[in-house]
Amino acid sequence: MRRLLAMVLMLQAVCVGTAFAAKQYLELVVIQPYLEMHTGPGRGYPVFYVIGRGETLTVLYSRTDWYRVRAPRGQEGWVRRDDLAATELASGEPAPIPPYPNFATHRWELGAGYGVYNRENLVTTFVDFGLTDSLDAELALQQAFGTIDNRNIATVGLRNTIVPEWRWFSPTIGIGGGYQSVSDKVPPAPLQKSNELAYASVGARGFITQRFMWRIDWRAYVVFNKLNTSEVLEEWKFGLAVFF
């Protein structure tokens, strides 16, 4: 039994060892006169080590616009993105630092925001998937807090960024449909606990920094109910979003 346990442990150690050995890190050569390493991933953290020209560094991982690197003699520290982008691969090709995202190249976008839905406070979260350069599929989960009722709203839609090349201000239009559930805060209970709805939207979006965006949207909803006339509601919202 003990021998079996020892064998299992050895096998595990070998597996773990190979898994670690299989982990490959990017290696880059410094071609500028020197490369500064900071103690933390921020502009204010002091430089504590310098990698000289011709030396090879290992890139471990990134955090925002900073890269954790290991110097040839084992020191670990943080290098600014622009500094690392100026290094080269051993083959002489430029360092493969991924470019900043833009509307045309991104795929996933995640964000949240505040809005007003039918004169009620609204909390919104959304996730978008880029189908083409300008067309996104959008899922929004929202909660509206009214004085007489609360509404949970889920919508799925399509949104078109009219000129995706415009970086700082780019208008959008969209359509979609969804579902809302109503819970009353004060009696009487609502006639219908849930409704289907459809919307059309007009909005705009733009970058605040290289990876951070603002969004503003106006939506007109048609809420389908059992009465003869459908309810028409308005929604305004402002959100912040990031690309993945």
């Binding site: 890190y25 502009r43 909390v123 920094t209």
Partner: protein, 224 residues
């Protein structure tokens, strides 16, 4: 004399003739050699395949996930333990987006303590749960020193956001703001100390007012 002159001239002619021959040797066959690879197909096909070099990807560790616990002072209902989860995405070195989910349970209000027969809220309504969506800004990044040998990176940050507070069986729109300190024990493990206030409108005691619910928490997060 004439013979000597003639022989010198002859020698000179011969030499020049040789040099011409030599030059012809240089220029003559060269085009033939140069044309050879163009005219004929190469006999040896290169057997070396182009190597596809795959550069390893750099992993981004912009997410921070963790748990926290502490004390929540629910206005009119005493101070109570609080447990929660938090997840953040760091956008730049300054800005991050963070979400919180937490739960606490309210005690008795002073009215209920004085008059035990009065119940302001039911026992299920005493549950205080919230979610928040916040924007954070690292105002004061820096280092904290422990003795001579240790320096920890830290950031003092401010948070502002909104969300839902469910209390007294009602969902309320709530604003929250606060301040916190992130102390990085290692590059992936952080300790958090936070103080945040959740503000929402309440009419539990007959008058509609903004209630402030301040929490002080300690938490741990990991970057991945």
């Amino acid at each position: 004399m004439e013979i000597r002159f003639g022989s010198v001239l002859l020698a000179a002619l011969l030499l020049s003739g040789c040099s011409w021959l030599h030059r012809a040797d240089q220029t003559g066959p060269t085009p033939v050699v140069a044309e050879e690879p163009q005219a004929e197909p190469s006999i040896v096909e290169p057997q070396v395949e182009r190597r596809v070099v795959k550069t390893p990807k750099i992993k981004a560790r912009d997410f921070e996930l963790g748990a926290y616990f502490g004390a929540l002072s629910i206005e009119d209902f005493g101070t109570n333990p609080l447990y929660g989860l938090r997840a953040a995405y760091h956008v730049t070195e300054d800005v991050f987006l963070e979400g919180f989910v937490a739960r606490s349970k309210a005690g008795l209000s002073s009215l209920e303590e004085t008059f035990p027969e009065i119940t302001v809220i039911s026992s299920t309504g005493r549950r205080f749960t919230y979610y928040d969506l916040d924007v954070g800004y690292n105002v004061l990044p820096g280092e904290i020193f422990l003795g001579r040998g240790h320096a920890f990176n830290s950031q003092l940050y401010v948070l502002v956001g909104m969300g839902d507070v469910k209390f007294a069986d009602k969902d309320q729109f709530a604003l929250n703001f606060g301040v916190g300190e992130r102390l990085l024990m290692t590059d992936w493990l952080a300790l958090h100390l936070d103080v945040r206030d959740h503000v929402f409108e309440s009419d539990l005691f007959g008058v509609t007012k903004n209630v402030h619910n301040v929490e002080a928490t300690l938490g741990f997060t990991v970057f991945y």
